[in-house]
C-alpha cells in the first residue's frame, strides 16, 4: 500500500480527470472531486513524510510508512486527521479551509455509506470555487502546478474561479471597512469620547494571551486581533524562568470602539492584518517541569540559643 506523496498525487490527478469526464450537474462530479481532494490532502501530508499518514495505534503502520514490511494490512489515519495535520504543516491552510474540506468529506461519506443523496442537485458554484483554491494550495505544496493537476484548459478555468473569489472578498472587506468608518465619523465628538472610555475595561476583558492589540482600519482606534497557536518554539531557560514563545496566527479582528468585525483569516489577509505574531510566556521552572517539593525540606532547623 503506497503512502508516497507522488503516488497519492497521481491518484488525485486521475480522480480529477474522472470528475471532469462528467458534466458539472452530474452527482459524480462532486463525488470524484471529493475523492481527489482526499488524495491531494494525503499527498501533501506525505510530502513531509509518509509516516504522518500512519495510524499511530499500531507500530506496524509506522514501520510500513518507513518502508519496512508489515505483517498486517497497514492502516492510515482518518481523513479528518489528515486535514488537522495540514493546518500544522501548511501555513496557508486555515481553519476555514479545514471546515470546508471536512464538510465535503462528510457529504462524501453520506454518499458512500448511507441511503442519502447529498450530491444530488448540489450546485457546483457552492463548493467548486473553494475546492479549486484548496486544490491549488495543496498541489503547489506538492511541488506541482494546477496545470499539472487539471490540464491546461481546466486549470485556466479554475484560476478564473479563484480570482473571482478573491475579488468578491476584496469588495466585501472594502465595503465593511467603509461602512464602519463612515458610521464612526458621523458620531458626535461626545459619543466618540464615551466609546473610547468604555472600550478600556471591555478591551481588558476581551483580551487573552493569544490576542493582540491592533489599529482598526475603520476608525483608527485600537481593536483586538484574536488568534490561534500555530507553533510553540523550544523552551529556553532564562534568568527569569523558562521562556516559551508561541507563534500566533490571527483568526479574526474586532474593534470595540466602532464595531468593525473581520471574521475570517481571508478577511484579515485582504485587510493586511494577517501577519503571524509571537507571544512569550515565562514560567517558574517548578511549575513548568511539574516539580513538587516542600521548601521546608531544604531548610535547616531554626536557630536558637538553647
Amino acid at each position: 500500500m503506497s503512502w508516497k506523496s507522488e503516488d497519492l498525487w497521481q491518484k488525485a490527478r486521475l480522480y480529477f480527470c474522472r470528475a471532469y469526464a462528467v458534466t458539472r450537474e452530474d452527482p459524480l462530479f462532486p463525488l470524484w472531486s471529493s475523492l481527489a481532494l482526499e488524495m491531494l490532502a494525503r499527498a501533501s501530508v506525505a510530502k513531509i513524510h509518509p509516516v504522518l499518514l500512519a495510524d499511530p495505534q499500531q507500530g506496524e503502520n509506522i514501520l510500513h510508512a518507513c518502508g519496512f514490511p508489515s505483517p498486517t494490512a497497514p492502516k492510515s489515519v482518518p481523513v479528518k486527521t489528515v486535514f488537522h495535520r495540514l493546518k500544522v504543516v501548511l501555513p496557508g491552510f486555515t481553519e476555514d479551509d479545514f471546515k470546508f474540506c471536512t464538510a465535503l468529506m462528510e457529504m462524501r461519506n453520506a454518499e458512500l455509506h448511507s441511503g442519502d443523496l447529498p450530491f444530488d442537485k448540489y450546485p457546483a458554484v457552492k463548493w467548486f470555487p473553494q475546492l479549486c483554491c484548496v486544490a491549488k494550495m495543496l498541489t503547489e505544496f506538492c511541488g506541482k502546478s494546477l496545470v499539472d493537476l487539471l490540464g491546461a484548459d481546466e486549470a485556466r478555468a479554475a484560476e478564473e474561479m479563484i480570482k473571482g473569489i478573491k475579488e468578491k472578498l476584496h469588495g466585501e472587506v472594502a465595503r465593511m471597512v467603509k461602512v464602519s468608518g463612515d458610521a464612526y465619523k458621523a458620531l458626535p465628538p461626545e459619543e466618540k469620547a464615551a466609546r473610547a472610555k468604555e472600550a478600556i475595561p471591555r478591551f481588558i476583558e476581551a483580551m487573552d494571551w493569544k490576542s493582540k492589540r491592533c489599529k482598526c482600519p475603520s476608525c483608527g482606534e485600537s481593536g483586538i486581533l484574536h488568534g490561534e497557536v500555530v507553533k510553540t518554539l523550544e523552551a529556553k531557560a532564562t534568568k527569569d524562568g523558562i521562556e516559551e514563545q508561541s507563534v500566533i496566527m490571527p483568526r479574526s479582528f474586532k474593534c470595540i470602539v466602532c464595531g468593525l468585525t473581520l471574521p475570517t483569516v481571508q478577511h484579515l489577509l485582504i485587510a493586511n492584518m494577517a501577519d503571524h505574531f509571537t507571544v512569550g510566556t515565562i514560567a517558574d521552572p517548578k511549575d513548568y517541569y511539574g516539580i513538587e517539593f516542600d521548601p521546608s525540606d531544604y531548610y535547616e532547623e531554626d536557630y536558637g540559643n538553647d
Binding site: 503516488d7 480527470c17 469526464a21 499539472d148
Partner: protein, 218 residues
C-alpha cells in the same frame, strides 16, 4: 570526454562513437548505473532470443526475434533512467539496426501538454502505478506495460501515433565497439527486424547499462 558527450546529446539526443574502454567507467562518468531488473546486474548482455529462451516478462518474450517497438528503457522504474548506454561486442557487423527517434523534441506545446497531463497505468509485474508519458523532465514510453487510465477519453495514444510517424529518427547499424549513449528522457528507441535468412547467421550481442542522473529529483 563528458563535455563532448553531453554536447552531442544536447544537440541530437544521442552520442555515437567507438569506445573500447570499460563500459562501467563511461557510465559512472554520467551518473549512477542502475540495474534494469530488481536484483539484476548493472551490465546486461543483450542477444536476440526466441520467446522460449527469454525472460517471461520481457520484450523478447513478446516479440522474439522480430522488431521491438519504440520505447524508453526502464519505463517500469519509479525514476526512469536518464541514459541508456549500448555497445556492440560481436565481431561481425549486424544487419539488425537500432532505431533512434527524437520523440520529445518533436512535440508541439499542445501535444506536450496532453502527454504531461493524461494519466497512464504502468504495470511492472510486481505492482502498478500511475504516471503520465511526460513526467516533469522525464519520458516514460513503453506500451507493452502502459495503458491509458481513462481509455474512453485518452488523447495521448493518437498523439503518440502522429508524432511517431513524423519525428526525426535515425537507424544505427552496429559494428564492433560502436557505442551509443541515448538521452532516455528525450529519445525513444526500437529494434529492427531481419529476414529469416539473415536471422540464421545472426550474431549480435550488445552490452547495456542504464544510468540515473546524479541529481535525483525526489
Amino acid at each position: 570526454m563528458k563535455e563532448a558527450i553531453q554536447e552531442a546529446i544536447g544537440n541530437d539526443g544521442w552520442w555515437i562513437g567507438k569506445y573500447t574502454g570499460p563500459l562501467m567507467q563511461l557510465a559512472q562518468l554520467l551518473g549512477e548505473p542502475v540495474p534494469a531488473r530488481i536484483d539484476g546486474p548493472l551490465l546486461d548482455k543483450l542477444v536476440v532470443r526466441q520467446p522460449s529462451e527469454a525472460h517471461r516478462n520481457s520484450l523478447s518474450s513478446r516479440y522474439g526475434t522480430g522488431a521491438f517497438p519504440l520505447h524508453t528503457d526502464g519505463a517500469h522504474h519509479a525514476v526512469v533512467p536518464k541514459y541508456v548506454i549500448l555497445r556492440m561486442t560481436s565481431e561481425r557487423e549486424s544487419s539488425r539496426g537500432t532505431v533512434l527517434m527524437d520523440f520529445r523534441n518533436s512535440l508541439d506545446p499542445h501535444q506536450a501538454g496532453v502527454l504531461s497531463h493524461e494519466p497512464w497505468i504502468v504495470r511492472t509485474g510486481r505492482r502498478a502505478f500511475l504516471s503520465s508519458i511526460l513526467d516533469g523532465k522525464s519520458l516514460r514510453f513503453d506500451f507493452d506495460i502502459m495503458v491509458p487510465a481513462l481509455p474512453g477519453s485518452a488523447r495521448a495514444p493518437g498523439i503518440v501515433r502522429a508524432v511517431a510517424a513524423s519525428a526525426r529518427s535515425t537507424v544505427l547499424k552496429w559494428t564492433q565497439h560502436l557505442t551509443v549513449i541515448i538521452d532516455n528522457h528525450r529519445v525513444v528507441h526500437g529494434r529492427e527486424s531481419v529476414t529469416p535468412e539473415l536471422l540464421e547467421t545472426e550474431e549480435r550481442q550488445l552490452e547495456r547499462i542504464l544510468v540515473r542522473e546524479d541529481e535525483l529529483e525526489i
